[in-house]
Amino acid sequence: MESFFSRYRNPLVLLALLVAQIVGLAVQVRRVDSGRTSLDSQDPAGVRLIRLWANAIVAPPERAIHSSKLGAGGFWQNYIDLRHIREQNQDLQKTIDRLRLEQAALLEDARQGQRLQGILNFQEKYIYKTLAAQAIGSSGSDQSRVFYLDKGSAEGLERDMAVITPDGIVGKVREVFPHSAQVLAINDQTSGAGVILETTRIRGILRGNRAGQPQIVGILADQRIQPGEKVLTAGGDQIFPRGLPVGVVEKVVRDPDRDSFILVIVKPAAHLDQLDEVLVITSTQPRFSPEGLQDLATSEALKGPEAAAIKEQKKASEIMAEHLPGLIDPNAPPDKQPLLDNSNPNPVSHPPMPLHPDRFTPGAASTPTVPAPDAATPETKPKPKQTPPATPGQAKPATAPKPRDTAPRNP
């Protein structure tokens, strides 16, 4: 027996190592409903421990290399940057002021959208808080498009948080360690993000191919999809908030595995191969963040008297619209319309019929219609009850007061 083991020692050790690793593989995969196998979305405790050890060994040298590279490059970069910093600062300040005003307008629109969403019992999530992180390493394999961040659970990162750059989405946090995190990029074969094409509103799932290009799968052949169309996040995957840029359509190819389906190859908006700094969305809320609301207040203050005057004018118009008698009552029958009401203390005066109609008479066949010079402007016109258009023999009512004139007297 001893001679057997000594004689076949090498093959036996090989067999033992292979069997041990195959058993290890078997506990990590599971059979899914379609009959195929897949990895568990969450690693077993033992596997997670191995990943933690490997990361603990590799991350410190990577971090050191990264910081030394930043330190050397940063010194020269800082000198170059400082040379034009004053002009840049002034330009940026102007840009901030302009963007604040624009943001205030957009926030108003978004608030209205939120109210409508509330009516429809659908609430959109907004980015509430982000955390900046540095990409320090990768998996080292082209079969696994993952990379590592220098922030981990100690800094508040959790699984399935979205990772973005100002250009577009990057991926999601797959595994979190105490001071680092593993991010699965959108161009990995196993990734999946719900996306929508901006113009055609076609939805699909984004994942990577062998070459590391993101592609949208599960789309029926559609002639409307053209290169250059923008791709946005659809918001249905519970990871990426809706409307974030993903990229643009690069080309459309036939799906080799499924007839009548196509693959939409996407050129990612974020530079996935040159990632340095990224943002991790650590929190999303159904309402605006305090910072957003603060910006809104700041821009309102910046607008000052102009904004107050517009607001006052709008308010007066609304009050006027409520109090003024309408010329057309949608609920009244045609013969009981306010225009025909004799009990009205200020009856509508009809212009007298012309004795000798000429080409200037309203309703003449060859006469072009000329609008009344004192027609109410869209801003001052009461919205719910509109003035009927001028018809032959019926001019604009002279007794209808102009809201702008009466507004200061009837606040």
Partner: protein, 173 residues
């Protein structure tokens, strides 16, 4: 006249390295494998841990040591990916075993032989990886043999430069 038996000849040709080299070289290979793709914009046309495994397996001429080194390197690489741990481990275990087994029988001082050995073992490793993923695990994986061929060439070029450098740090008696 002293006659060298097969075992004694093998013992004479076994390379020995300082303990620090056994620890540092694999670690540096693993760190560089994880870090370099960021510099090279995602192009991973090499497998440094495999090259180092082949070098030590050839030099040590011990299949068991080669297997354990391959298994360790492979498992470490797997742990850095999001794939199942063990796929690379099995592939590199076999690579280490083969390299050490071949190293006993052929002249591993010849650079051409070492580079060719690197090329073929790299391709074999890719084939084992694909076999485990698709057949053993039954999982979907897009594959390109052209990329694997380029990777094997990349490994051979690295071996051409790295092996003479590592030869310099071996202990000479």
């Amino acid at each position: 006249m002293p006659v060298l038996t097969a075992n004694s000849r093998r013992d004479l040709e076994i390379r020995r390295f300082p303990l620090l080299v056994y620890a540092l070289v694999p670690l540096i290979a693993l760190v560089l494998q994880a870090w370099l793709p960021r510099l090279l914009r995602g192009y991973v046309w090499f497998d440094l841990p495999l090259v180092v495994t082949i070098y030590f397996a050839l030099g040590l001429r011990s299949p068991i040591q080669g297997m354990f080194m391959g298994a360790g390197m492979g498992l470490f690489e797997d742990a850095l990916t999001h794939h199942a741990i063990g796929v690379n481990g099995i592939a590199k275990t076999i690579a280490g075993f083969l390299a050490a087994s071949v190293g006993v029988r052929i002249d591993v001082e010849n650079h051409t032989i070492r580079v060719m050995l690197n090329f073929f073992i790299s391709l074999l490793c890719s084939g084992i990886y694909l076999f485990i993923y698709r057949v053993l695990l039954g999982m979907e994986l897009e594959w390109s043999w052209v990329v694997e061929l380029i990777k094997a060439v990349g490994n051979s070029i690295i071996a051409l430069v790295l092996f003479p450098l590592l030869d310099r740090v071996q202990i000479r008696e």
